[in-house]
Amino acid sequence: MRTAFAIAAKDLRAEARSKEVAPAMLLFALALVFLFTFALPPGSGRAPVPLPRAGSVGAREIASVFLWSSLLFAAIVGFGRSAALEREGSRLDALVLAPVDPALVFAGKAIANFLYLTFIAILVFFFFVVFIGVAPGAILGFLPIALMTNIGLAVIGTLFGTATQYSRAKELLLPLLIFPSVLPPLLAAIRLTSETLVHGDPFTETGWFILIAIYDIVFATIGAVTFEFVIRE
């Protein structure tokens, strides 16, 4: 596992210098959040919103959909860039040649992607606090949701981000593959986040957490086992 951390640390250090991934993600997420704010009535995150009528959705549900859509778009941008950085100049070859388990290379790249995502998620959340009036304290509920969901997103993003580097149509393929693949944890995260915004507590619906956990475990395993076939010929 030390190898995985070394690879992640290398990515983060390079990122700290060149800033090629996180700022692009952040800018993208913030632009989306900014647009979304126009769709929401002011204070919709804080003021007691009447229970939604049957068949309609409350402002907080919309807010949590917006939050996660901006994170998802930012994630896709970030996954593509972080994989491209490794692929440029065939640098992935160096990792293939080194006597390390491809599963650890996968883990390292996924850890870096996870950290970018989580960093962006926290910033975007505070954007919601400022512009939509979400209660700052809701971060306590949001953080565990984001941490768990980001594992799954980072795993899929690392696997498909790297896979699509070997294609001429990577900009088209990455979103095409990621959107449907992350639907389960995304639905869970949206539901849990809107619970948090409404009740201030996501833990009333543990079932969704279990769903995310299962997803994370299943795809982390598949990713670790199959990454070898992606990077080696």
Binding site: L159, Y166, S167, L177, P180, S181, L183, L187, W208, L211
Partner: protein, 223 residues
Amino acid sequence: MNIDTGVRNLAVLVAIGMLAGLAAIFFWVPTDDFQGVAQRLFYIHVPSAWVAYLAFAVVLVGSIAHLKTGSRRWDLLADSSAEVGVVFTGITLVTGMMWGRPVWGAYWQWEPRLTSTFVLFVVYLGYVVFRRMGDPGRTGRIAAVIGIVGFVNVPLVHFSVRWWRGLHPSGVVNPASEANLPWQMLVTMLFMLGVFTLLYALFLTLRVRLGRLEDRLLLLEGR
């Protein structure tokens, strides 16, 4: 019997079956009391869906076997089955929408099965695109990874959408669970399932043969 006769016989069998099935759908089976004529779409819709899932299950098997053995035969099987699967998923979605309009009053409902099918359609569309635009040295193996992830994801999608909807009941009509189906309906449905399965076998065989010929052509063209 050589392959060509085998394929031809299969094709003839499928053609006859398809004609007989269509005749049954249009002239023999009684009209559904609740859904009216639109229900007849189900004799196409359900078998297409079945073939789509069957095809993607074959992709899964072919993908795993290809990763294990590295053999081009499994790879070609997975590739071929994915293409056929995408076509049938498309048919499933279109017939589903045609049925949904008169019965649900909307072309589309975010209902678990429809959503899972849609997700399959998108993922395997990505698969097919990747096949055409990938780095030739790795395409087979990476496509196999996509095929595995796509299929494993389906139950999770199904489950999460159902759960999501469970909180907003949408009153979806579940065609399969209606009790007291007239026996003609059951027979027609089973018959069409059989015909579509044979149709899948036919398409798959043809596509695999085409793939083999392409491989050989590549070899002959080269120096």
